[in-house]
């Protein structure tokens, strides 16, 4: 993989990543402050504040219904919180639509795979390039002239992603025919095709077997390391979360329970009580 696919950011890691796992990040990429979100009388999120720093892998965990997915939806502009502010790349965001978030470099995958089932893997990944296309519908329909050149350029980029995620063998397979684990990988590929600065992953390892999980972990780490992409992920597998994330925020009933490095969170009384449980 060459550097040309990088977002240009590069990791801002201070000190070496590795066995110690103590990577330190300074620059804040996104900050949410006192976010509250409710649907009618249901309070989904209550005064949540945390930040995501450039280059880190940030996990959001919590029991079912804790508001994790709502939090991601707030970040990528799908939900609009009633209170609080979101600062992204130093700019305070007000109302924002998902496509604006996408334009600013936020990509995501979904808890329930949301791919175009009838389209091939390659076509699905190519849709991730849509925002980067310059030619208009007319030229695209003709597939000639300036569009041809552009299409080839984007295809080349997508091929790098396909190579990176090792899904060459299913390049031409309609995604509806793929097993679940591979569909998740295709979804990740599509998100990466956007060259995101911030990648939101909603349960990337749900429903996978151990081997698929290991592969996915490897890919998440590789994406973070090679492209310098900042990653925020929701995950229920505590082994995975504790292994790959730099910092963890814990939600419960829409409130923030804890926030810190995995080791700290793991030994937090409130977290153990609400979520992790005690060994009997």
């Amino acid at each position: 993989m060459s550097a040309q696919t990088s977002t240009g950011a590069g990791t801002q890691a201070i000190g070496a990543a590795g066995a110690s796992g103590a990577r330190v990040f300074e620059e804040v990429l996104l900050e949410v402050r006192n976010i509250s979100l409710s649907f009618g009388g249901v309070k989904a999120l209550t005064e949540i504040s945390f930040d995501i720093r450039k280059g880190e892998i940030r996990a959001i965990i919590g029991p079912n219904g804790a508001g994790k997915t709502s939090m991601l939806n707030v970040i990528n502009g799908f939900y609009h919180p009633q209170e609080g502010t979101i600062t992204y790349k130093g700019e305070v965001r007000r109302q924002m639509r998902p496509y604006q978030a996408a334009k600013q470099g936020i990509a995501r995958t979904f808890q329930n795979v949301a791919l175009f089932k009838g389209m091939s893997t390659l076509d699905n990944v190519m849709t991730g390039r849509l925002l980067k296309m310059r030619t208009n519908l007319f030229w695209q329909a003709l597939y000639w002239g300036p569009n041809l050149k552009e299409e080839i350029r984007h295809r080349e980029f997508c091929e790098h992603i396909i190579d990176f995620l090792e899904i060459q063998a299913i390049r031409k397979t309609p995604v509806g025919r793929l097993p679940y684990g591979l569909q998740k990988r295709v979804e990740l590929a599509r998100a990466l095709a956007m060259e995101p600065e911030l990648l939101l992953l909603d349960e990337p390892m749900a429903g996978m077997n151990v081997e698929e999980k290991e592969d996915m972990c490897r890919f998440v780490l590789d994406v973070n390391e090679e492209f310098g992409t900042t990653i925020a992920l929701i995950e229920h597998d505590m082994g995975v979360v504790m292994d790959i994330s730099d910092r963890v925020v814990v939600l419960d009933y829409g409130r923030k329970l804890a926030d810190g490095p995995p080791d700290e969170v793991r030994s937090d009384e409130a977290v153990i009580k609400a979520y992790l449980g005690v060994g009997h």
Binding site: A17, D163, F164, R171
Partner: protein
């Protein structure tokens, strides 16, 4: 005189590289599918790459006689590493890319490897894990930089950096590369091929340039290979077959060798590439055929009948056409039409449109499978070879291709059958020695160059070599006739309904056998014939199943009767086992080979009953479940008598006339 000497001193691979770069600089030498496109390197580009790499390795301290391990999938850069090392007088040691770290440690240590070139992070991780146990290993070069960013060890170098440094070194020492190549000669060691070793540790087979090049050239000459061939390199680089087909013959003749995108895309890459020269073990040909047949079963009724009509026609006439025998005009025209409508499109889908020559070897191939490909007009042939022979021992010549032989001795190869039936050979390809194992060398090779293969075989009346079994498994019946269990078992296993078979007969009056039915094939039969069953055991005990298997056994007996040397070993009695032979119970190896001794011990009472002439037997056997628990499986098994055919070859030949 050997062809190697005829080619004006082109007796090593690096010399051939320079030769091709001069004679056919613009011809493709290697391709690799990368980022969805076939990337091509011409001979002159490959020569440049190898020159830079060799200089880079020299700059890192690689010296004449050093060993360099090569670990990874088939990648152009790894093939180039072989040639670069050879240019410097070093010896490449390719390793199986899927071996675990401890297996690698043995080879690395045994071959005293100083350098290793690994494909990617996965292989580097394995090497780092065992580096402490390999004191000679000094430097690891990796090809794919992905995931390697945070590896700070100073003995790790990226391939690209090595090449860069090599270019600088080359500019400073422009004569170095050529001078190093000129120092090599045909008698030098070319490669260590470690045999996978089913028993004990692997053995390092030392092959010289002469061994490999003369053998590769002889075979290429016999088959008329040219620089226009296309070859897909997809079998492990550590296997001598890949080394000969993808590397040695490519250099010997100057044809292009292509690397697939990944292990999972081989079949698709095959279709896109359409190679003209192809090798695959029988298993792969079998899988392809099964897939075709399954897809045809799903096709519309009209298409299916259309397909079967033309395939039946091909079976009748296609092989005769391929062999150049006379065929009347009518069938010729129908075949031509079939080629237009069925055979051509089918071959295109499989990637076999351009095949001029395809080999299969390694184990016996089912005659139906073999005939299927030949009837389509694909020149599929069998060969018999070994690492110790630089592959080729026997090849089927064009026009003399039979499903049940391994062919005639390859050019310059002498074959003899020893007293005990063992096949022995002598050829220019005979290996020099097993590395650091003089005892093993002396055991395998006589001082005058004959090599023991450990395989039992015989020559039939056409002068073709037939491999029947491992020599140590061949026994004798009490009447003295030769008993080759695997030969009989293979004949049984060619029937899709039979998954596994074990034949007994050594020091007995006649042959008896155990059979395992194939639950997939028999289950689908049961479904179509409304036969209800709840388990493997129930289906295996069904009387109709017994009758079907009896028919298969009798067919095998008919085949055996046609061969005077084996006619005495027809199967008199057999039973269908009530459980599948299983590696968990130690009855099969992990690669699914029957462990005869253990099967004979565990089922001793059943064997006694078969030879005692009982009509049925009560079986009770301990089984191990997947979670490690043990239980007993009981049942009454019927012992079935099969008809035998006392006449030998005589009647069969008369019938054929």
């Amino acid at each position: 005189m050997s062809p190697a000497a005829g080619d004006a001193g082109l007796d090593t691979f690096p010399k051939l590289l320079l030769h091709h770069a001069r004679v056919r600089p613009e011809r493709p030498a290697m391709r690799e599918k990368d980022f969805g496109i076939w990337q091509t390197w011409t001979w002159s580009q490959v020569a440049e790459e190898i020159r830079a790499l060799a200089c880079g390795l020299a700059e890192l301290g690689f010296r004449r006689g050093d060993r360099i391990a090569i670990i990874g999938d088939n990648r152009p850069r790894l093939y180039w590493t072989m040639c670069a090392a050879q240019a410097l007088g070093g010896v490449p040691v390719p390793l199986y890319q899927d071996s675990v770290a401890t297996e690698m440690a043995f080879v690395l240590d045994h071959a005293e490897v100083r350098f290793a070139v690994a494909e990617d992070q996965e292989q580097v991780d394995k090497l780092l894990e065992i580096k402490d146990r390999c004191p000679t290993l000094e430097r690891i070069v990796y090809d794919d930089v992905r995931g390697m960013r945070n590896y700070g060890q100073d003995f790790l170098s990226a391939y690209e950096r090595v090449v860069e440094a090599g270019r600088a070194y080359d500019r400073a020492n422009p004569d170095f590369f050529q001078a190093e190549i000129a120092k090599g000669s045909g008698g030098d060691v070319s490669i260590f091929c470690y045999t996978s070793g089913t028993t004990g540790n692997p053995k390092g087979v030392v092959l010289t340039f002469d061994n490999i090049l003369i053998t590769a050239r002889n075979a290429a000459e016999m088959e008329g290979l040219t620089e226009k061939e296309e070859m897909l390199a997809y079998l492990p680089m550590a296997w001598v077959g890949d080394h000969i087909f993808s590397y040695a013959q490519s250099y010997a003749v100057g044809f292009c060798c292509s690397c697939p995108e990944s292990g999972a895309t081989v079949m698709e890459d095959l279709r896109e590439l359409g190679p003209s020269y192809f090798f695959a073990p029988p298993r792969i040909f079998e899988n392809i055929l099964t897939q075709v047949m399954i897809r045809m079963e799903d096709a519309a009724a009209f298409k299916r009948r259309f397909f079967h009509f033309f395939m039946d026609h091909a079976r009748k006439w296609g092989i005769r056409l391929l062999n150049g025998q006379s065929v009347p005009l009518g069938p010729r025209l129908v075949y031509w039409l079939g080629n237009l409508l069925v055979y051509g499109p089918l071959k295109n889908t499989l990637g076999f449109s351009n095949i001029r020559l395809a080999y299969t070897a390694g184990e016996a191939i089912g005659p139906d499978i073999f005939d299927f490909y030949r009837s389509l007009g694909i020149n599929l042939k069998q060969l018999y070879g070994s690492t110790e022979a630089s592959v080729f021992i026997a090849i089927q010549p064009d026009g003399e291709v039979f499903a049940d032989t391994a062919g005639k001795p390859a050019p310059q190869v002498e074959i003899r059958i020893a007293e005990n039936g063992e096949v022995q050979f002598r050829s220019p390809g005979v290996f020099r020695e097993y590395y650091k194992a003089p005892d093993a060398t002396a055991e395998a090779k006589t001082p005058d160059g004959w090599v023991m293969t450990g395989d039992a075989g015989l020559f039939d009346e056409r002068g073709h070599l037939k491999i029947i079994d491992r020599a140590k498994d061949v026994g004798r019946l009490t009447d003295g006739s030769m008993f080759a269990p695997k030969y009989i078992e293979n004949k049984l296993k060619f029937f899709p309904n039979i998954k596994e078979a074990v034949a007994f007969g050594h020091e007995r009056d006649y042959v008896c056998a155990f059979v395992n039915i194939d639950l997939g094939a028999m289950g689908s039969w049961a479904e179509r014939h409304n036969v209800a069953y709840g388990s493997y055991q129930e289906l295996a005990a069904h009387p109709q199943v017994g009758q079907i298997i009896k028919g298969h056994v009798e067919q095998v007996n008919r085949d055996l009767a046609a061969d005077p040397q084996l006619a005495g070993t027809q199967i008199r009695r057999f039973l269908i086992l009530h459980k599948e032979l299983d590696p968990d119970d130690g009855e099969l190896t992990r690669t699914r080979k029957v462990r005869r001794r253990i099967v004979a011990e565990r089922y001793d009472s059943l064997i006694q009953a078969m030879y005692a002439g009982d009509p049925s037997v009560h079986a009770s056997i301990e089984v191990t479940f997947e979670d490690g628990r043990k239980g007993r499986l009981e049942g009454d098994l019927e012992i079935i008598e099969a008809a035998t055919y006392p006449d030998s070859g005589q009647t069969a030949r008369q019938a054929a006339e």
